[in-house]
């Protein structure tokens, strides 16, 4: 996994609440058995005027010029600013895969759906929940070319005017993301404890260990 330490990135706003995972990456793309290549299909139904299918060449598809990510001033955006309950809906990790593949490194919103939030951390993508009023003021400040600096170690966002906003993140998640660590390897350090647990449990609930 790619580590996340500090970035200064262009911000793209999507002013909409409850953006669900079906909107982030429509289901036809979930048929892929790969982990990469979802970026061109991010927000497919909003981004293109035709209907997207897996393995389509997106460079020739008709673009919806009104959609924010298609506008020239937001090309290369790395930070997504959006509204509450972002990522609600299914557990598909294809949603953070698509956001990451597109080039996003962080998402700022008043709240996130739990599974999506969790999936982001597994993919080097930093979801930041800020109070709704704070998100509101970022929306208001935002002009094309607006960039924010996000420092994960310090847990701060710095605006172009130099204002610093603190954000919360779990210690464990922060540590793993800062170092780009593999969760499985870390958990396997506790292999003995897992075996101990199994042995104890097998006595109390043998049916969980017989078939």
């Amino acid at each position: 996994m790619r580590a996340f330490t500090q970035i200064t990135g262009l911000v793209a706003p999507i002013d909409r609440a409850n953006i669900d995972t079906d909107a982030i990456i429509p289901k036809q793309f979930l048929k892929s058995i790969r982990r990469s290549g979802f970026g061109p299909y991010l927000f497919d139904e909003w981004r293109y005027l035709d209907r997207g299918e897996p393995d389509m060449d997106c460079s020739t598809r008709p673009l919806n010029e009104h959609f924010i990510l298609n506008q020239p001033e937001y090309q290369g955006a790395e930070i997504l600013l959006t509204r509450e309950n972002f990522g609600c809906g299914s557990s598909r990790e294809h949603a953070p895969w698509a956001l990451e593949d597109f080039g996003f490194r962080a998402i700022i919103a008043p709240s996130f759906a739990d599974i999506f939030y969790n999936n982001c951390f597994k993919n080097g993508l930093l979801p930041i929940a800020l109070p709704a009023a704070e998100v509101d003021s970022l929306f208001q400040e935002l002009v094309p070319g607006y960039r924010l600096t996000i420092d994960l170690a310090a847990q701060t966002i710095t605006t172009p005017a130099g204002r610093s906003i603190r954000f919360d993140v779990d210690e464990t998640r922060k540590y793993r993301l800062l170092n780009g660590l593999d969760d499985i390897a870390l958990s396997l350090q506790h292999a003995d404890k897992i075996r101990e647990y199994e042995a104890k449990r097998a006595k109390r609930a043998p049916w969980l260990f017989t078939n």
């Binding site: 002013d15 909409r16 609440a17 409850n18 669900d20 079906d22 909107a23 429509p26 289901k27 036809q28 979930l30 048929k31 892929s32 058995i33 790969r34 982990r35 139904e45 209907r51 897996p54 393995d55 509204r83 509450e84 309950n85 609600c88 809906g89 299914s90 557990s91 598909r92 990790e93 953070p96 709240s111 759906a113 739990d114 599974i115 969790n118 999936n119 597994k122 993919n123 779990d170 210690e171 464990t172 998640r173 969760d183 499985i184 958990s187 396997l188 506790h190 292999a191 404890k193 897992i194 647990y197 199994e198 449990r201 109390r204 609930a205 043998p206 049916w207 969980l208 017989t210 078939n211």
Partner: protein, 473 residues
């Protein structure tokens, strides 16, 4: 010390290790695997040379991409076919049991788990699928995970988690006629919103919940995720224990007696502390219909499409305007004036035998309206289908003009050939009405099986509680 909630008990029972910041390694008793969210997890194991920690705790089935007609001809779409074949290959390679398309036990992952007794009370259950919350109806801690976590569970039989907060939703009193488990849960989501349960595990309780069958309880917990909660729970009682007696994977002999004793403790203590409690009066719930593109945009069938101008919150107002545009509806329009093109009875929310019985009771002796292009019934599993046929439900449906299909996710999310065309309007018993969910440009109204069957006959929504009376006279 205050008493414990059911969630507290299940959590404590599964902690292997806790870090200083409270994140814990919790043990997973059952992982269900399907074709869409697993290929990259198996690939991860191969790339790192890791083996599953325990093969016997995983059960796999293909459901999302499976055709619901002409199964013997295989899967026409090559991309879908590759995904299903990849699951088969991965299961064979790693030694995991899979119910394939030809197996009578094949079906929607959340239907077959309880049906087989593969998901049991007291377990921790995960699947790379958000509707894993369904299994919480049996007093189990069950939630959806992402693909990286699927790989993590395969490799370690554990998951890194932080404990959620406790929410109790009590549905007090008795429901009125025509009101089902689906209406209860839609009314709850309408009340607390799709983000209302974020960060919580929701326990459902109260007289109206106790009165539900296991199937009905699964419908309620299925949609806990639509209220923002990863997991929904219902305490164990006689209904739960009776349901699991003699299931293929249920404990046998002395193990059964041990299990039964242990399961009887799977309820919240009377003095348990919840972070949030919500009370709902069951008698106030009417049959529900969603009108927008989020499950929280829901009203009673005898209501009207709401007016966004009356909404004070600017963000909500904007979502309502967007939803009305997408759904092609006008504020003030009566719900019963909404005409349908297609009807879908199925999905992990409402495709169990009880759902099909309820829909068949409404459809019996009647005909699907000529304006309906397609009305389909998709059983949740091969065994549900078999049971329904033994009871003659298939005849009732086909004589009324419904199509009787093979089991799978089907038009719940339209990954197979079953889908809405742009602009088509559907009464659906599934759980999500997001834009494009049932097909590009398709419009979804979520309802109960009874409401869907009645809408098929009438061609538009009807209030099933009074409509049934008219028909009986």
């Amino acid at each position: 010390m205050p008493g414990k909630t059911l969630y507290d008990k299940l959590w404590e029972d599964h902690v292997v290790h806790t870090e200083e910041d409270g994140s814990s390694l919790i043990y997973i008793d059952r992982q269900l695997v399907h074709e869409v969210t697993s290929p990259q997890a198996f690939e991860g194991l191969r790339l790192t040379g890791r083996k599953p920690w325990r093969t016997d705790r995983n059960l796999a089935v293909a459901d999302h991409n499976i055709p619901t007609t002409d199964r013997d001809k295989g899967i026409a779409d090559p991309v879908s076919r590759l995904q299903v074949e990849t699951l088969e290959k991965n299961c064979a390679e790693f030694g995991i049991t899979e119910f394939n398309m030809a197996d009578i036990r094949q079906g929607i992952v959340h239907v077959i788990g309880p049906e087989q007794g593969a998901t049991l009370p007291g377990m921790t259950i995960v699947c790379g699928d958000s509707h894993t919350s369904t299994h919480g109806a049996s007093g189990a801690l069950a939630f959806g995970i992402g693909t990286s976590e699927v790989e993590h569970v395969l490799a370690t039989q554990c998951l890194v988690q932080k404990k959620a907060k406790n929410m109790l939703i009590r549905v007090n009193g008795k429901t009125g006629p025509g009101v089902t488990a689906k209406d209860i849960v839609l009314a709850i989501i309408g009340k607390i919103g799709t983000a209302g349960g974020n960060g919580y595990t929701i326990e459902f309780a109260g007289e109206a919940i106790r009165a539900l069958s296991m199937e009905g309880r699964m419908t309620v917990c299925n949609m806990a995720i639509e209220a923002g909660a990863r997991a929904g729970l219902i305490g164990v009682d006689e209904v739960t224990i009776d349901y699991y007696r003699d299931r293929p994977y249920s404990p046998k002999g002395n193990d059964w007696f041990m299990a039964e004793r242990m399961w009887q403790n799977l309820h919240s203590d009377p003095d348990a502390k919840f972070d949030k409690v919500i009370d709902i009066d069951a008698a106030s719930i009417r049959p529900q219909v969603t009108w927008g593109t989020s499950p929280e945009l829901v009203v009673s069938v005898d209501d009207k499409v709401p007016n966004p101008e009356l909404e004070a919150d600017a963000v909500k107002k904007q979502s309502m305007i967007q939803a009305l545009k997408y759904m092609d509806l006008e504020p003030g329009q009566a719900i019963t004036d909404i005409k349908l093109d297609k009807i879908f009875i199925g999905s992990c929310t409402n495709s169990r035998i009880e759902d099909l019985r309820a829909a068949a009771a409404v459809a019996k002796g009647k005909k699907v309206a000529s304006s309906i292009k397609l009305a389909m019934v998709v059983p949740g599993s091969g065994l549900v289908k078999q049971q329904a046929e033994a009871e003659g439900l298939d005849k009732i449906f086909t004589e009324a003009g419904f199509e009787w299909r093979d089991p799978g996710c089907s038009m719940c999310l339209a990954m197979n050939a079953d889908r809405l065309e742009p602009g088509e309007r559907c009464a659906s018993t599934s759980n999500r009405n997001f834009e494009g969910r049932q097909g590009y440009g398709g419009r979804t109204h979520l309802v109960s099986p009874e409401m869907a069957a009645a809408a098929a006959i009438a061609g538009h929504f009807v209030d099933v509680s009074t409509w049934e009376k008219e028909v009986r006279q």
